[in-house]
């Protein structure tokens, strides 16, 4: 029943995400995604990697906003609306409320990420079906590899924003979304400031930056990708854990 409550709160956001996927699909279908163009038109056609890079770059922003929305639902929202006493006095461990929210929210985000990436992969694959399991014959990354890692990258970004918003919402009730936006903007500005004054120091991007790209072609995985994924995953998990501790220890008003 508790998941049903979270679904009620998040279904519009999920619907918006599915609309976005639909628009993506329409875009792919409407813009010459099909068999490779022949002859003189072949030059005008984007290669699959380019399609993947361009489309998924544009997906980062909507994905961030969707994750922001998901993070604002659940216990934090209940506390903000004054119904925290009611919800948290239902006979269940408080931790289970947090992990139900987080698990169900992440599951929905995963579905949206998979759906969006499937559309893009389908479009790209349609143009040049050259993929092997991991690398193509010419030594670049295969579509399956790009698809898999891009899903992981999306999930990590979504998890980070979702977790931070959820934690902030539990911490300061209804102002969690504003805090996350503030943190993201402050980090982006801070990164540029650091780059300007200390050119040798490079703070990591909020997104995974998972590929090494040359001439619009995804060549291979970026260096230290495993560590980047592990660190982001640890950070993404830290927020729901912190939220759980907070919900368990705080007095409910």
């Amino acid at each position: 029943m508790y998941l049903w409550k979270y679904w009620r709160e998040s279904r519009l956001t999920f619907g918006a995400g599915m609309v976005l996927v639909g628009v993506l699909l329409w875009g792919c279908c409407a813009h010459h995604v099909g068999p490779p163009l022949q002859g003189k038109h072949a030059q005008q056609q984007l290669n699959p990697d380019q399609i993947y890079l361009v489309v998924t770059s544009f997906l980062v922003l909507p994905l961030g906003f969707l994750a922001l929305g998901y993070g604002s639902f659940g216990v934090g929202r209940d506390l903000g609306e004054g119904s925290g006493s009611f919800v948290l006095s239902r006979p269940r461990p408080r931790a289970s409320f947090v992990w139900s929210d987080w698990g169900f929210g992440m599951a929905q985000l995963l579905l949206l990420i998979l759906a969006a990436n499937l559309v893009v992969a389908w479009a790209a694959h349609h143009i040049a079906a050259t993929s092997g399991p991991f690398y193509t014959a010419d030594g670049t990354l295969s579509m399956l590899s790009i698809f898999s890692v891009d899903c992981v990258a999306g999930l990590l970004l979504a998890g980070l924003i979702f977790g931070l918003t959820y934690f902030a919402s539990v911490l300061v009730k209804s102002r969690g979304v504003l805090i996350t936006l503030g943190v993201v903007v402050a980090y982006s500005i801070g990164k540029q400031v650091v780059k300007h004054y200390w050119p040798g120091m490079n703070l990591p991007d909020l997104t995974l930056s998972e590929f090494s790209v040359a001439h619009g072609m995804i060549i291979r995985f970026a260096g230290g990708l495993g560590w980047s994924i592990a660190l982001r995953a640890a950070l993404a998990m830290a927020f729901p854990i912190a939220a759980q501790i907070l919900v368990q220890r705080r007095d409910v008003e």
Binding site: R8, E81, S83, V252
Partner: protein
């Protein structure tokens, strides 16, 4: 098995320098309808929140249905119906809230929920946020009463209700709940309502229990004694609660042994005009004090 549904010993809750609950002792017998009385800010709601596991005590001990809310809150909440904030999930209708709530309580009764909706004249298809204050309270009560709880804890349940609904509600609470041997803790400012249904009463002020006992015992033991006489004592009697000297008369309130007190005053040369029993409202006002000479009162039973 402990015969107390709720038991608190030297319970404390501090918010910085504010001692909301300050060494509270409370004994709510199983099967009793217990009126938990106190002024605004006396510590009633904070105590209830601690019993529900929503707030952590700063110190002291408490047991609810024999369990410790700090470690067994899930088991306690499964057996307890609570109405504290009267704020449910705003976007849900009454039917949605019933659907949401029923999954948490194995003894939930849809039949009871339907019956209370009818008795309390509730529109179950209206969203909670669109309900009036009174209807919100009624919906909170419906959910608490339908879950088949052994213990119901209600914080100001009749606030915002009109007299007709209040009457319906009190009937429901007594007929459907208290008569079945379950325990009802009722925090209220409305002393006449408490007097109508409660068997036991506890009066708190400044986070401390001032008086606790059976309501009948209180009524039979408290007396207001009006006397005429010169230089009468204002204290120095063990059961004296308050003493006020007016023009020509002195008014005493004692919490027991009224006959002995009257005899004592007569031996001092006083003429006793009358010795009348007090109702709950008068007892409450005397115990929490109104800036008059006030003697601390202890637990009666």
């Amino acid at each position: 098995m402990n015969d107390l549904a709720i038991e608190c010993r030297a319970l404390h809750k501090h918010f910085g320098d504010v001692h909301a609950v300050d060494g509270l002792n409370l004994n709510v017998p199983r099967g009793a309808v217990y009126g938990f009385l106190g002024r605004n800010g006396a510590g009633k709601t904070t105590t209830i929140r601690m019993l529900a596991g929503l707030a952590r005590p700063t110190g002291g001990e408490m047991r609810v249905l024999g369990l410790d809310p700090r470690t067994d809150s899930v088991a306690i909440l499964a057996r307890t119906g609570l109405v504290i904030e009267k704020m449910l999930i705003p976007s849900m209708t009454g039917n949605d809230l019933v659907r949401f709530n029923r999954g948490f309580f194995p003894r939930w009764s849809d039949a009871l929920a339907r019956r209370y909706a009818e008795v309390l004249e509730l529109d179950m298809n209206r969203k909670f946020k669109k309900l009036s204050t009174g209807n919100r309270t009624k919906l909170c009560l419906l959910l608490a009463l339908s879950q088949g709880a052994e213990l119901i804890v209600l914080d100001e349940p009749t606030a915002g209700l009109d007299p007709v609904v209040t009457d319906q509600l009190l009937r429901v609470m007594v007929e459907d709940f208290a008569n079945e041997g379950r325990t009802l803790l009722l925090s209220s400012h409305h002393l006449s309502e408490v007097e109508r249904i409660a068997e036991w009463v506890g009066i708190v002020d400044h986070g401390k229990l001032l008086l606790e006992g059976r309501l009948d015992d209180m009524r039979s033991s408290f007396r207001r004694v009006r006397v005429v006489g010169e230089a009468l004592p204002l204290a120095a009697w063990p059961d004296l609660v308050s003493a006020n000297r007016g023009e020509g008369t002195t008014e005493y309130v004692v919490r027991g042994n009224a006959d002995a007190f009257v005899a004592h005053l007569q031996s001092e040369g006083a003429t006793v005009l009358d010795a009348t029993p007090l109702n709950l409202s008068e007892i409450f006002l005397e115990v929490v004090g109104r800036g008059k000479t006030n003697v601390p009162v202890e637990v009666l039973a």
